[in-house]
Symmetry: C2
Subunit: 222 residues, 2 copies
């Protein structure tokens, strides 16, 4: 694209950074790696990438996520733009943060090892590169804020899940425990969460009913 107009103005590198949430061992995790670019090489960091000329911000975020995980069609949400002049020590870079929620089981372990990435518990984060800690905090808050009104938690779970699993996911996002009976009462009032009739015997002797999320159902609420 030629710069026909505006040529007297400055241009900037623009990147997208992905906050990728996953649920494992009853805890909320995010995917972190050691930064490979100079400057900041070796620091813990979110995974990101620069925006291409003909690509929307959303598309750039989806591409970066795909490159990293091989996953397509994942729900992503813009968290915000971060533009302090010195936020990147290398050059002026404006970054747009996106969060994504993935089911850890869908993510190829080999790919994870290949990129040398780690799942890190959300409340045990190391010091991160640049302003990435702010991005993580902001996206975590956004997640907490929308968890009851938008069908986000299912992205962190397999197709079918037990109510206990669902409750653990919600608890891990909120960072607090919930009452089991009240939680299940609410679930029953949500028509988008339906029992499958299948019993999962892997997590208990008695077995637990598996539920699934019906995305065609419009009125979701927990």
């Amino acid at each position: 694209m030629t710069q026909t107009y505006y040529s007297e103005y400055n241009q900037f590198f623009v990147s997208v950074d992905c906050i990728i949430f996953g649920f494992e061992n009853g805890k909320l995790h995010i995917l972190l790696g050691k930064r490979k670019l100079t400057p900041g090489r070796g620091l813990w960091s979110l995974y990101g990438g620069f925006v291409n000329p003909a690509e929307s911000l959303n598309a750039a975020a989806a591409r970066v996520l795909y490159d990293l995980t091989g996953l397509n069609g994942i729900y992503m949400r813009q968290v915000g733009a971060y533009g302090e002049p010195k936020r990147d020590p290398g050059s002026r870079v404006i970054s747009v943060a996106y969060c994504a929620l993935i089911n850890v089981a869908d993510y190829d372990e080999n790919l994870r090892r290949q990129y040398d990435l780690r799942w890190v518990e959300i409340d045990q984060l190391p010091t991160l590169y640049s302003d990435h800690e702010t991005m993580v905090k902001d996206s975590h808050e956004m997640l907490q804020k929308h968890i009851f009104t938008e069908p986000l938690c299912f992205s962190l779970l397999p197709e079918m899940f037990t109510l206990t699993q669902l409750q653990k996911v919600v608890e891990s996002i909120l960072g607090k425990e919930l009452d089991k009976r009240n939680f299940r009462k609410r679930i029953k009032q949500c028509p988008a969460i339906v029992g499958t009739g299948i019993i999962d015997k892997s997590s208990s002797r008695r077995g637990a009913l598996l539920y699934s999320y019906d995305s065609s159902c419009t009125d979701f609420h927990l």
Copy 2:
């Protein structure tokens, strides 16, 4: 700033666009102008500006608002980044939208005329340049979402205001009427809204008590 690293990547124009809300004649308005730059010259548009090299996004937004209104220290909030490749017909421009709330009375009419800007009712918007309608819609929704939990409405009012004025502001933001008694009951439960003891006689024969917002009070809620 030199482009020491990252030099193989592309750069982009980055602008900020301001959605400036004001309250007038019992209605919520936003400030619009006719676009002066080509392309799109003459179309109704938000006011914006390009980001400078050494300036944060927040600072750029504050500068643009100051240039336009002469107002400083106004609370602004990032709405989001907009980056469709064709969103600006002139060149690839990534824009970060900011909303601001100002008290119309603080804004110099001469300056408004000088820039040829208009206060337009939020529900009577004309067709806007590029994706500015999306920006306005997004920021209006953000405003509605946060109006009860953050002390935003006071930015639209003078230092001292009657409860009727406050209610009208909230109603104009929500786009619906509220019950007067329930509204006032809520106000009384908010320690940050305090009576001044001064009676305003301009709006009624009987006179109405003027209130003010105590920003040092931490727990705000309507």
